[in-house]
Symmetry: C2
Subunit: 116 residues, 2 copies
């Protein structure tokens, strides 16, 4: 087991989970399991997350706001209620449009690089 | 690869994903990746999901409503904004309280039994 395992019986509220400022205009909260990890990202308007890839499979749920994603060379706009799938090693990035955005990023396996 | 892989470039809206009635008062929508799967469950007031377990690791986000969960013998109440972690093989069940509930269940690996 890696990371910070959660006691199974304990529900956690996003409101109680500390947010870490990981870059200008980007705050991240994390819930870490054994092979599953959820990150809640709050991003300012017009923030860019540069194109990158990782071996981890990812699904992203848009909780709030509007985003332009680029995944595997295709650009798509997404809004609250949309879900995106990023298979292993597919290059992806995102640009927030003109309002604050909240994203739920789900990974398997867990992002050890986020826990360093 | 198993299940119904999603084209990486295509965001999907929950509103466009068919809901399957899987039991009285329970509808399920699914987004299926390779090792990640998201199920969105809409459950009526007072519906019970009986205690069960599976080798898949699970995280559940409460999107709407109030639920009484039992996980590994511990009972806890949860509401919108709460996240629960169910490690592999831990027995869990839930009872909806007095309003409609929406849950986001995240699994790894995917629930092949849901795709039969």
């Amino acid at each position: 087991m890696t990371g910070a395992p959660i006691h199974a019986a304990l529900p956690r509220r996003w409101d109680d989970i500390p947010a870490q400022r990981i870059a200008d205009g980007i705050e991240r909260q994390m819930i870490v399991g054994q092979r599953l990890m959820i990150c809640r990202l709050t991003l300012g308007p017009h923030v860019d997350t540069p194109a990158h890839s990782h071996p981890h499979e990812q699904m992203t749920m848009v909780e709030k706001g509007r985003v332009r994603f680029t995944i595997g060379g295709h650009a798509r706009e997404a809004a609250a209620g949309d879900v995106l799938h990023v298979p292993s090693n597919v290059v992806h990035g995102a640009t927030m449009l003109d309002e604050e955005v909240v994203l739920i990023d789900i990974f398997t396996p867990i992002r050890e690089d986020f826990l360093a």
